[in-house]
């Protein structure tokens, strides 16, 4: 399993993309697969960069790890910011007309739909949010 550490800023998203992409490419994931995973990675990473560390709070950054085993990719995000489980967010109503549509929650909904499984765990011993994206390649 390979891991990178970033400062949890939006500016570093390119670095996260490059890392995840090259790991998946090395594991033989095709372009379409890498796109789907990239979408999920963007949503999760932007959430962390936007909300994990409020202004003035200490920023411990984020770790992103990629593990591919037996044809299953796991992308694991770890931050030590505010305890937050994005999976608890209510799914948006995707049947509403355009003028009634609310855009909030759409990102995490896309993540759930794009991935085969998404797991969240809060680890109390070091105060870490751990979110794992799972996709069968």
């Amino acid at each position: 399993m390979e891991t990178i550490h970033v400062n949890a800023s939006k500016e570093e998203i390119g670095q996260v993309f490059d890392f995840v992409n090259s790991e998946l490419e090395a594991a033989g994931a095709d372009l379409k697969m890498r796109m789907k995973i990239q979408l999920a990675v963007e949503e999760i990473y932007v959430n962390i960069a936007s909300y994990a560390y409020p202004a003035g709070a200490q920023n411990f950054g984020a770790d992103v790890a990629v593990d591919v085993k037996d044809g299953v990719a796991r992308i694991i995000f770890k931050d030590r910011g505010l305890k937050y489980n994005p999976l608890e967010k209510e799914d948006p109503d995707v049947t509403l007309a355009a003028n009634e549509r609310q855009i909030g929650g759409l990102g995490i909904f896309m993540v759930k739909k794009m991935m085969d499984d998404v797991l969240y765990e809060y680890r109390y011993e070091d105060g870490a949010n751990i979110l794992t994206l799972i996709k069968n390649l």
Binding site: K10, I13, G14, K32, M35, Q38, L39, E42, E43, V46, V94, T95, L96, A97, A98, N99, R101, I103, L106, G107, F109, M110, K113, M114
Partner: protein, 101 residues
């Protein structure tokens, strides 16, 4: 204009081409550029040409929804299977007038 947005008036329509990626890093700018193109062409139907769009995240979908709310007569054309999948799962395929590749 960035390299992502290209606009022209063709056959009485405002055609805006999106090229490459619309994601968190550029979505706000892309939205502003399209709004600038619309200014002065409000009466024209809006066509978004997605032939060369490789990637759109929820930040990009927000831009599309804003455009739809501004101008209901918006059409998305040359939509690839991959991009259509994203529209499908988010229900955007039901909201927008879409012409697939």
């Amino acid at each position: 204009m960035s390299e992502v947005v290209k606009g022209l008036v063709n056959d009485g329509k405002l055609v805006v081409e999106l090229i490459g990626r619309v994601d968190t890093s550029n979505a706000a700018g892309v939205g502003d550029e399209i709004k600038e193109l619309i200014a002065g062409n409000e009466a024209l139907p809006l066509v978004l040409d997605l032939d060369k769009l490789d990637y759109i995240s929820s930040a990009g979908l927000r831009v599309l929804l804003m455009l739809k709310q501004m101008n209901d007569a918006i059409k998305l054309v040359k939509v690839s299977d991959e991009i259509y999948d994203i529209f499908d799962i988010t229900g955007f395929a039901d909201i927008f007038d879409i012409e697939r590749k």
